[in-house]
Amino acid sequence: MTMRGAGKIQTGERTRKSFYRRGHGGVPRRAPRNLVSLLAICLACVLFASPVGGQVTFERLVNSAKEPQNWMTYSGDYSGKRFSALDQINRTNVHSLVAKWVYQTGATGKLETSPLVVDGILYATAQDDRAFALDAGTGRPIWMYQRQLPGDIRPCCGRVNRGLAILGDKVFLGTLDAHVIALDAKTGNVVWDVVAADYRTGHSFTVAPLAVKDLVVIGISGGEYGVRGFIDAYDAATGERKWRFYTVPGPDEPGHESWEGDSWKTGGAPAWNTGTYDPVTNQIFWPTGNPAPSNRGEGRAGDNLYSNSLLALNADTGKMNWYFQFTKHDEHDWDATQVPVMIDAGGKHLIAQADRNGFFYVIDRTSGKLISATAYGKITWSDTKDAEGRPVANNQSSPTLEGRTVCPGALGTTNFMAPTYDPQTALFYVTARDQCDIFSTAPQPYEAGHAYYGSAYFPSEEAKPYRGFLKAIDPTTGQVKWKFEHASPTWSGVLSTAGGLVFTGDAEGNFIAFDAALGKAVWHFQTGGAVYAAPMAFAVDGKEYVAIAAGSAVYAFGLP
């Protein structure tokens, strides 16, 4: 037996011990040299019905809870909880956590990646469409891919990427020049490369795709360039596009009447954060971003569907079952591109979304009906709700030429940073900020490939200092159970683990562990660079790790 990790292929066992075993298919380091080895592997296949050779099947993604040593989707599972069932690192020993390895990406700017780990290999991305695979136990690289990008790409907010999807023997990358690429998981070789849209008109990808069934689902960026947003699904084997859902309806489609004149053609509503998937109803939940121009409503009168909305799409066809719009006719860049977290509580199937507009929404995911909307940060744009309980904008929120102060500011109460839901504490943890901006109109004509804002915005000095928090919200009441104030606002996502811990990072470069119930910081490590990424957890050879990207490196922490 030449397989690393004792050669025992673990699967199906639900004992905690098995969570930490390396394996589940394992990684052959050398080819088996004799029949006995082959037989041993095949016997293991039969006994445990285990996929071998690193193949990630749809069934494994659906049943990801059975292999908590792995982290196989952007949020760790299809529900978007970003919760790890690993508990080797816990409240009693977290104080002794140490850095086990650091991988330097060599990239500059904001590192937003959330790694995947499958069977001992970590897959992640960095700026300028780098992708790489590491030995998850040592941090040593196995392969590295970097796309040759054109010089005139139009990334709105940094040359960033938030991660990969994995299915079968491939990983999938969306690129800044709006291609979707499949890389061989073992070598990083390009298997297929398809063009989703023209980057010269402001289309790009920054999102981690989501693999569902045999499809790779991905949403476009470019709301700041007046693209017409869409969500695509590609055949994972061939790259053939199977469906496209335009987030701005065309003529004769329902919702088209919510756009004035031809404004739908440049209506924005991008889809640049990873959605979630409900295997029971075969629905993809995917959030959308701001209408374009992002900060000027003149010329696009109406609700501007389906901007700033949560969409429930049939995974096979891309047909919409329902939508819920968080901010109608947005003039403040309040993309609803936050992870829609599936929560089951009190016999109800829910989605919880902490929105950029400052309200925490709970939605029935069967019907799309709103259950509650509660402010979780500083709000000035709304003081009433409609008959369905939806916050309604007041008349003091539209940008003016001389400038008008509105809270939250354009960056929102939260943004793309991934939240977490911990089933053990039944709390939803989210990074939040209190900042108000002055919105001042600056009308621009649409010009293909050019920034299309329509207003300037900058922080209101009156609202200083800008404050950043980690907030723990009880989804049943919408109330903030505890909060921790950071030294300054952070862009870090949040991870919860069965060890009773919540992990996040800060703008000052600290990676921090909190007692999930009490909100007390119980451990921290100075990484040396601001955190713009989301943490995740995995196990190799029976040892739990927690990983975070910070500065220009990926860090993995474990017990000594």
Binding site: C157, G403, A451, A456, A507, Q526, Y532
Partner: protein, 270 residues
């Protein structure tokens, strides 16, 4: 005098070679105004008059740029060692295309005041005040001479407007000065006042050089650096009341303040 004349001639000749493709285009200047509001006004103010963070760009003579081509370089690549970021890296959103940068330059040129404003004050007297009766140099350093507790001011006259300097002297707490800027960190450290009591009961008063959730680096009023872990302190109190005293007209007359501004401007323009 002859030397200055030659230098000026050199600049003029350089500028003539490096003019914007959109020079003098009024429509481009108007488009540039909106680009300016979106991309530049945060620091340089809505009318390019300087917003308290960045220099007044309506000045005909600028510190870092003379020709349009130089201005293009500065907008594209930023100015190392200053708060001026490279195009597209300030986190405020989209980077500009080349055409949009030229539009902004056309706008800035359209806003320039052709004759530089005459210095109102007496720079020589301002220098005497700075190092003498006004006590500025107890905390501020210029060209290697002075104190360390407050921001270094050698370049301030070149990068801040007269109005911003006067405001920061009269109302020092209204807008705290920026200190250390860290790569990829969104907000620079500000000159916040801090008072701590150590575990041994020792009180330290000073300004924050830097701070995070777990540690703080302080310079006290006698310029000693203290490196402290917050959880080991008996108390930790921050204040947005600047450590700089409020210089009202009773402490510093308008005329004397103009003289100090003239001194800072003469040094900063070098």
């Amino acid at each position: 005098m002859g030397f200055v004349g030659l230098v000026l001639l050199g600049i003029a000749a350089h500028a003539a070679d490096d003019r914007s493709p959109l020079a003098g285009d009024a429509k481009a200047a108007k488009a540039g105004e909106y680009q300016f509001r979106i991309n530049c006004a945060l620091c340089h103010g809505l009318g390019a008059h300087g917003g308290g963070r960045g220099p007044d760009l309506t000045r005909a003579v600028k510190k870092h740029t003379h020709s349009d081509a130089e201005m293009f370089q500065v907008i594209s690549n930023g100015i190392p060692g200053t708060a001026m970021p490279a195009n597209g890296t300030n986190g405020q959103g989209v980077g500009m295309t080349d055409k949009e940068i030229w539009q902004i330059i056309a706008y800035i040129r359209s806003q320039e005041v052709k004759a530089p404003a005459k210095a109102v004050g007496n720079a020589s007297h301002g220098k005497d005040l700075f190092y003498g009766d006004a006590n500025c140099s107890l905390c501020h350093m210029i060209e290697g001479k002075g104190g360390r507790v407050g921001p270094e001011l050698t370049g301030v006259g070149g990068s801040r407007t007269r109005e911003a300097i006067i405001d920061s002297v009269r109302n020092p707490s209204r807008r705290l000065a920026w200190g250390l800027t860290e790569a990829t960190k969104e907000f620079p450290q500000e000159y916040e006042s801090v008072t701590v009591v150590t575990a041994e009961g020792k009180e330290i008063k000073g300004v924050t050089l830097n701070e995070d959730s777990f540690s703080v680096q302080i310079m006290d009023t006698s310029e000693q650096i203290h490196l402290l872990e917050k959880d080991k302190l008996r108390s930790f109190q921050k204040s947005r009341q600047s450590a700089m005293p409020v210089y009202g007209a009773d402490l510093l007359s308008d005329k004397d303040l103009e003289d100090i501004v003239a001194y800072l401007t003469s040094v900063g323009a070098k």
